[in-house]
């Protein structure tokens, strides 16, 4: 409905369109979007609630603060890899070698930091540069030879695994020294209570301040500013939610620095995807590469940036997981690491078909995956069960993605 106050607004000139005004309207619009298949993070939130309820009823330790703190430590390493996967999935590509890449990074850490005694920052830089180089090779194969990333990274998986075994040689595994900063970061370091509460305030404040500035801007430009009350409710909900979570974690050991670091990178990535020209190009190439090229976007550069970012984040994830386990071994990055990272991104709501998804899916998806793994471990079920159940969850997530996509097409929202 157009009211008198909305006369003359640029985006309210078409009277045929119904616009949402209050909170009730916002909720109604949300329900409409969900029905049309624009699910966003809804399935993952619902899934998380179900998982928590089931595991807590089977073993109350699951919900204990210290178990959740452990869960967050475990999330950070694979979540970091998953964040990189989001980048390539947005392009409609895939990187199957992230597990091996993380293994190579952890081997580099063991061989050059522990055994060769190089300074830690040098070795970290080396691992990250190695990641970027591997990503550049994949992008090169993709753009110069048209090699599908599926095949390029599959061969990369094998080659990198070989390189990891070569680096570690006969020793097989190298222990990182206990008491070193690297291991403390991965196992012990938590934020002080006051700092964690302060940081938990930040997102809400940011939502409020940026939202108010956006509203003022829009009003000045003769655009409808959007619901002010809706903004307030959103900021309040985020703040209350985060503060409660932090309070609960502080009943145990506290909020891990490693998870804080991961969350920070997710926020930076979210900003890059939604608010920069680079992010817009990535979404455009993922949606329609030819249209992006004709719009003057340097498509090759977009491929390079995404593949390099993905491998670099995989290397970073490998370092974090080495510090979490205090070892760099031949097993690092093998087994389910690869699939967990990819599954997390998909479960979190990033489409396998390209052009649709967000950085948040990495954090939400990995919490789901690690909750399942953690809960099953608490039930004394072996990894055989864990693999089967995680596989089923991934299948469900992809089915939800495909169904939602079909529904979006039917409702004209693809």
């Amino acid at each position: 409905m157009t009211t008198d106050s909305e006369k003359g607004l640029l985006d309210r000139s078409d009277t045929r369109v119904r616009h949402e005004t209050g909170i009730a309207d916002t909720l109604r619009a949300f329900a409409g979007r969900v029905r049309a298949g624009d699910l966003g993070s809804l399935p993952v939130v619902v899934g998380l609630v179900i998982i928590c309820t089931v595991f807590t009823s089977l073993n109350p330790i699951f919900i204990a603060p210290n178990n959740l703190v452990n869960l967050l430590y475990d999330c950070s390493a694979v979540g970091m890899i998953s964040l990189g996967i989001v980048c390539v999935l947005l392009l409609g590509e895939i990187d199957l070698s992230v597990g091996s890449m993380s293994g190579v990074a952890s081997a580099l850490l063991g061989v050059f930091w522990v055994n060769a005694g190089l300074p830690l920052p040098v070795v970290l830089a080396m691992a990250l540069v190695a990641g970027a180089a591997v990503g550049a090779i994949y992008a090169l194969l993709r753009v110069s030879f048209g090699m599908p990333s599926f095949v390029a990274t599959l061969s990369g998986l094998l080659a990198l695994l070989g390189f990891q075994l070569y680096l570690l040689g006969n020793s097989g595994s190298i222990n990182l020294p206990y008491g070193s900063w690297m291991v403390n970061f991965g196992q012990l370091m938590v934020m002080p209570d006051w700092l964690s509460h302060l940081l938990a305030l930040a997102p809400g404040v940011a939502i409020l301040v940026l939202g108010m500035r956006r509203r003022a801007n829009r009003a000045r430009s003769r655009l409808h500013p959007g619901s002010g009350r809706g903004l307030l409710v959103k900021a309040l909900a985020v703040t209350v939610g985060l503060e409660l979570a932090v309070f609960y974690l502080n009943l145990g050991r506290g909020v891990p620095w490693m998870f804080g670091f991961f969350a920070l990178l997710v926020m930076i990535m979210n900003y890059a995807i939604t608010r920069t020209r680079w992010g817009r190009s990535v979404l455009a190439v993922g949606g329609n590469a030819e249209a992006a090229r004709r719009a003057g976007i340097n498509v090759k550069r977009v491929y390079f940036s995404c593949f390099m970012l993905c491998s670099t984040l995989a290397a970073l994830g490998g370092i974090l997981s080495a510090s979490r386990l205090a070892t760099s071994s031949q097993q690092a990055g093998t087994g389910d690491v690869n699939l967990n990272a990819i599954a997390a991104a998909v479960i979190g709501g990033t489409s396998l078909f390209g052009g649709r998804g967000s950085a948040w899916s990495a954090i939400l998806g990995i919490i789901v995956i690690q909750s399942i793994s953690n809960g099953l471990t608490l039930l004394n079920l072996s990894s055989s069960w864990r693999y089967m159940i995680t596989g089923a969850v991934l299948a469900i997530a992809v089915i939800v993605d495909a169904l939602a996509r079909r529904s979006r097409t039917q409702h004209g929202r693809a």
């Binding site: 640029l10 985006d11 000139s13 078409d14 045929r16 369109v17 956006r214 801007n217 829009r218 430009s221 003769r222 655009l223 608010r275 920069t276 020209r277 680079w278 817009r280 190009s281 979404l283 455009a284 993922g286 949606g287 329609n288 030819e290 249209a291 992006a292 090229r293 004709r294 719009a295 003057g296 976007i297 340097n298 052009g355 649709r356 979006r408 097409t409 004209g412 929202r413 693809a414």
Partner: protein, 258 residues
Amino acid sequence: MEQPIPALKLSGISKNFGAVSALTEIDLEVHPGEVVALVGDNGAGKSTLVKIMAGVHQPSSGDIAFEGQPVTLNGPSAALRLGIATVFQDLALCENLDVVANIFLGQELNPIALDETAMEVRAWTLLNELAARIPSVRDVVASLSGGQRQTVAIARSLLLDPKIIMLDEPTAALGVAQTAEVLNMIERVKARGIGVIMISHNMEDVRAVADRIVVLRLGRNNGVFLSTDSNEDLIGAITGASDNAVSRRAARRVEAPT
């Protein structure tokens, strides 16, 4: 009186794809504020010519002059920078992005902190100038109708204040009312002093808006017509009146009466 300098002038453009010569010695001129229709049968080389002017393909030989200056168009962005905008028939929009994002694709304001408000205002202004009716510029393009998508594509081509706009079959796949809206839009673009090159198979649309009609046949220039010229001559030039299936059949019947 001195001839005015054409906004875009092609002379002797040829394009070979392997052994096939898609275009041979094509000449074409477009002046500011002029609508030139490019017509021809399937395979006449219209789309190839448009792609050359858009920088998508490079010509095998020949010269391109933009406002009197010789230029090389070695990529879509080079053509865009000069002021040659193209509305392609297909593959023009990203369906997963909203209208504002599509209009500003590759030209976003403020690369490291997108100025969404300014972009939205500019998008509305462009669409209003075209008297276009889009329900919301924050809807994804997938939810728009064919005519609305064509509108978005034309609005996008106007973003950089181009000197030349090329439209590849702008009215194909559109209904009657939507076609009329697009033709109105072309007249509004022309009124702004922009040269328009329009490809179409629909002679009615061509006659409605074109100042000159350039005919291509089998990759060669085959005459220039005005919208007042007779339909027969025009169709004759397009199909090759003296040499087509109908005339050959007629000739055979004369030679060998049953």
